[in-house]
Symmetry: none
Subunit: 195 residues, 4 copies
Amino acid sequence: MSASRTKAAGRPRSAEKDAAILQAALQLLATQGYTRMSLSQVAEVARVSKSTIHLRWKTKADLVTAALAAVRMVEAPPAGGNTRADLVAILDDFAATVQRVRGMALIGTCLAEEAHTPELLALLRERTVLPRRDLLRTVLEQACCRGEIRPEGDLEAAVSALLGPFYADYMAGQGGRAGWAEEAVDLVLAGLRPA
Amino acid sequence: MSASRTKAAGRPRSAEKDAAILQAALQLLATQGYTRMSLSQVAEVARVSKSTIHLRWKTKADLVTAALAAVRMVEAPPAGGNTRADLVAILDDFAATVQRVRGMALIGTCLAEEAHTPELLALLRERTVLPRRDLLRTVLEQACCRGEIRPEGDLEAAVSALLGPFYADYMAGQGGRAGWAEEAVDLVLAGLRPA
Amino acid sequence: MSASRTKAAGRPRSAEKDAAILQAALQLLATQGYTRMSLSQVAEVARVSKSTIHLRWKTKADLVTAALAAVRMVEAPPAGGNTRADLVAILDDFAATVQRVRGMALIGTCLAEEAHTPELLALLRERTVLPRRDLLRTVLEQACCRGEIRPEGDLEAAVSALLGPFYADYMAGQGGRAGWAEEAVDLVLAGLRPA
Amino acid sequence: MSASRTKAAGRPRSAEKDAAILQAALQLLATQGYTRMSLSQVAEVARVSKSTIHLRWKTKADLVTAALAAVRMVEAPPAGGNTRADLVAILDDFAATVQRVRGMALIGTCLAEEAHTPELLALLRERTVLPRRDLLRTVLEQACCRGEIRPEGDLEAAVSALLGPFYADYMAGQGGRAGWAEEAVDLVLAGLRPA
DNA sequence: CATGAATGAGTCTTCATTCAT
DNA sequence: AATGAATGAAGACTCATTCAT
């Protein structure tokens, strides 16, 4: 009885190909959008045959879903106990990540496909949006405990006020406006300052 | 040059068809997205033949561009001189419009196609985003004049702080959160309250 | 108002292409069978693009159905009033037709597809099998009236006895056995001879 | 030649798998037809991997051929010495067998593939059609010896007259017409009654 | 031996676009 | 002007077969 008791029969599936396919899919999803992205392109970019993709994921939607599910939140910026600095760090990291992975195009695809393939937006939320919001909320809760801000009924509005300007700026064509994070944080902290 | 003659020869193009096509295109753009929307669908919805579309716009991109260009901001909510109420009215109208025309899907399509057809996002900005921001900025400037808020270098950040929560909420899956407009306005006004 | 009141707008559909496609489909159906036959082949044989086929028939099954529906019974051999000669003539014509159009392969395809696409066998029956049986039954009924054969409850069994040997011979590998028609007719007439 | 050694080296091939594969192939051949039947399906039904099939038969055609070759005539109904009863018994058994194994679909497949893979029809003939005809012919010969029917040149026509109505009925959509066997036998015996 | 991975060819179908009427 | 026919390119997906474990 070797250690490989559960070893699967036959040739094992190549982990490199798994990764290459998912990465290619994610990249093409951001650059082409869901509908325009073709499995041929994915196969070509991943240096793999189309059938190899179909062997792993039954349909295009399955593949894209898997690619989005594989997206992992980058590790949270370390919290230092300084409310303002911590919030700014999280927001800056957010902006940097979005830019790095062509995030707005990816978001756009998920929004555009919401009626047709709602899983996409759902996954994006679960994997990237909500975890980031959790980080921000945690910092705010601590600030609350320390009496730095007024205890509000819930902090959702504050979180949206922190992240929102990023989207609004992008829509206005002012994508990477310098100092946006600081301004957003200052506005929220000022608005919530204890009486 | 006969092209400059006041009256074109032959049968004039039907204006009704122009409108029907553009409207159908816009609707399908929102419900299907750019790539998924087909000219056959547009033709069917507009009760027109595919060739009639091509007669007016050379390519699919041209048609979609024209459809977006035809989008007009709905009339602004009347300003009443009460800063808080005016801002809330504008934001509520914004949210209502987005919901009515499946705006987030339309925005998603334009974001998704940004790399391929940047005109789409540019037009959306010009026709809908910037006009709305102008309304908000005007109200803020008046409030500034009346000394209700601190004069900032520019008010862009404030405008983004007003609109942003809408986007952030949508991304978080809290699309129509009640009272979002009031909360955003109050936060901004509190943050900008004169010392 | 011209005579062409109901003239369809636009370019008229080419009747030659209609015919070429249907004929190609029928030929390939007989030589390749339903599943093996591809629309590419049909397009190639008919000297037409694949899309031209899809313009007329939505799916492969639709095309094949139309092709089978277009099969027309060859005109009946003239009845001369001589029962034996008339029956033999019909059977000989039957055998000749089957051979000419690779009928057994066509029949085979319809039988093989019965579970999947029952319309095929149904059409084959309606267009070729049943009309031929009607001819035979009519001749038998006249013979009955003239007292040449015993009046049976119904003549279906007799008709099957006339046609059956053809199929049985084919299955035995004795496809075109000479004199099969005469033998079958003689057997039936002898079996039904009035007491 | 080591190939002629009584015992092959290495693990022997599983006989159960052989049987399971052939049976699955035969079943799917009848239900799906040759072209539609896929090796994946066979593998799945036989609870075996695709490669295990290819290990035994090089191609799909080989497998199907082997499956048909494995078909054995079920044992003949016991002959009791009564010509009419014996013939009817054979025909009834024939009809029952065809129905049990979806025989007409199988026959259809072999007919449809005749141009492409003539071995199929050849095997079907050799294994099922001709043995059955032999049974019938033997009974007829004995009847001949006993003087119950006229001695004909050969009895092939009579055999086809016995089996034929079954096929003809099926083609007419009267598949299992009650009493067909008796009627066919009576007709033939009447037609061949000694003068 | 037996298995699962990997692949290239091929399937039906859809689409944006150009032609003929 | 307006329509419907015609088409080439491309898309997702399936399959028989060969390879590596």
